[in-house]
């Protein structure tokens, strides 16, 4: 099918984009890569009256890696983040998850900020931002505000963004010690590149003696928003990563704690079970692989 007609604007700056949103009102939408929005428009499930293309804002395709961590500006494409050596060195989880996002042709146009703002409960990146403790930078008529990933995702396809605001940047804080960080991402989908049925992202920071100093575990597809699995995280802290009994207990705890929905793709029971399995597999992967950072040294 074909989309309904709309007015189209190319934003020259963030302020310009915000001005257009203000002038066009609630039915206007930001267009980044369009890989989620345009299919919805083709189906006429989305009928925005105006679109504001933000991909030509100077510098919006920039990835910055420094002492403050990684910053992805609003039109960074999946493909560029996936192939960035700098990102893979300091935040390998991003690339580990991006491999699962769509296919090459989707990744070359889709943007990190776009799919994050779209907030599909089965999308990979929201769970990644939760596990990494990322922060969303939102620009609006009253200036800029910073929202932690955990309070950004509200419900199915719903975020903390107001209609007159845009997601201008995603910030990933640096690891306390990159050489002691382990990360993994696992998901189950019907076919590689399809939307995930469920998935898990894990970030582990070890202490000098090989015990887990901090753990962040998140799940996708296990609820209407990606969620942290705090009871599982709490069980991990203080133990070595290769404690098999612990991993089994964590798996059981995850199965108990998540309340996923059931649908035509998978029953709630299946999702519950598989979320536990994927968390265990991710932890096992963390135990096996040295961090990419070490590999690069």
């Amino acid at each position: 099918m074909k989309p309904e007609s709309f007015s189209f604007y190319v934003a020259e700056s963030t302020q310009h984009a915000l001005d257009i949103l203000a002038q066009e009102g609630d039915d206007s939408k930001i267009l980044a890569g369009g890989q989620s929005l345009i299919p919805l428009m083709n189906f006429r499930l989305a009928r925005p009256a105006a679109l504001v293309d933000v991909c030509h804002i100077p510098g919006s395709e920039r990835i910055t890696v420094d002492n403050a961590g990684v910053r992805f500006r609003c039109s960074v494409r999946h493909r560029d983040a996936l192939h960035s050596n700098e990102v893979n060195a300091v935040a390998p989880l991003v690339g580990q998850a991006l491999k699962w996002v769509g296919h090459e042709a989707i990744r070359s146009r889709g943007t990190l900020c776009g799919s994050t703002a779209h907030a599909d409960p089965a999308a990979e990146l929201p769970a990644v931002w939760l596990a990494l403790g990322a922060e969303m930078v939102i620009s609006g008529p009253h200036g800029e505000r910073h929202v932690p990933a955990e309070s950004f995702f509200k419900s199915f396809f719903t975020t903390d963004l107001n209609a007159d605001e845009m997601l201008t940047e995603i910030r990933v804080p640096p690891a306390p010690d990159p050489s002691l960080r382990r990360t993994a991402f696992q998901e189950i989908a019907r076919r590689h590149g399809d939307f995930a049925i469920v998935g898990a992202a894990v970030v582990i920071d070890l202490d000098g003696s090989g015990r887990i100093a901090a753990a962040r575990v998140s799940a996708l597809g296990a609820g209407e928003v990606p969620m942290r699995l705090r009871s599982a995280e709490a069980m991990l802290v203080g133990s070595p990563l290769d404690d098999q009994e612990l991993l089994e207990n964590v798996e059981a705890e995850v199965r108990k704690s998540v309340q996923p929905p059931g649908d035509s793709h998978a029953s709630a029971r299946y999702r519950k079970k598989v979320t536990g399995t994927l968390v265990r597999r991710s932890l096992a992967e963390c135990a096996e692989t040295p961090s990419t950072y070490e590999g690069m040294l």
Binding site: I38, N42, E104, S108, R191, G193
Partner: protein, 166 residues
């Protein structure tokens, strides 16, 4: 029907500047087919799933059905029409012909462009790399075995040619 505002879109398609005035909602796939008469780019699902409409935008693989023409103003687009040199098939097309990489041919333009993108970054892909890279393209006829064989054949020939050039 109200009169829609038209946008002047100008693209470099297969090395030639082409332009037309279209509403913002015109998909790149429709721009290529209806405005420019380039019917080689096929439209299957129009929702980014089948890969039939795959083209190269600025050298990168992309779905023309999930891209508005106005988004790619001024960009270089390569379509399947840009592969052959007159009556002479492009080596990738030749491999698809030789190794039975197509039956009805509906999916083929997308597979050819995806293969072109794959081989430009990896001249010796393994079977699983080929299958992984082409996983965004759907074929209802071949069962994919002939397609994978075609890509392998094309890679082999491309390396052979490079080898003798050096």
């Amino acid at each position: 029907m109200t009169c829609e505002q038209l946008h002047h879109v100008s693209l470099i398609v297969n090395g030639v500047e082409r332009s037309a005035a279209v509403p913002a909602r015109t998909l790149l796939s429709d721009f290529l087919r209806h405005e420019l008469g380039l019917f080689g780019t096929h439209v299957g699902c129009e929702q980014g799933v089948c890969g039939a409409c795959t083209v190269l935008i600025g050298g990168r693989l992309a779905r023309s059905c999930t891209t508005f023409a106005v988004q790619v103003q001024g960009e270089e687009i390569r379509t399947v029409e840009g592969l052959a040199n007159g009556d002479e098939l492009h080596p990738i097309q030749e491999s698809f012909r030789r190794c039975h990489g197509l039956q009805c041919g509906f999916c083929t333009p997308g597979f050819l462009m995806a293969t072109e993108a794959l081989l430009s970054e990896n001249d010796d892909p393994s079977d699983s790399e080929i299958r992984d890279f082409l996983s965004g393209n759907v074929c209802r006829c071949t069962g994919y075995v002939g397609i994978v064989a075609s890509v392998k054949d094309a890679a082999l020939r491309a390396r052979g040619v490079n080898g003798s050039d050096q």
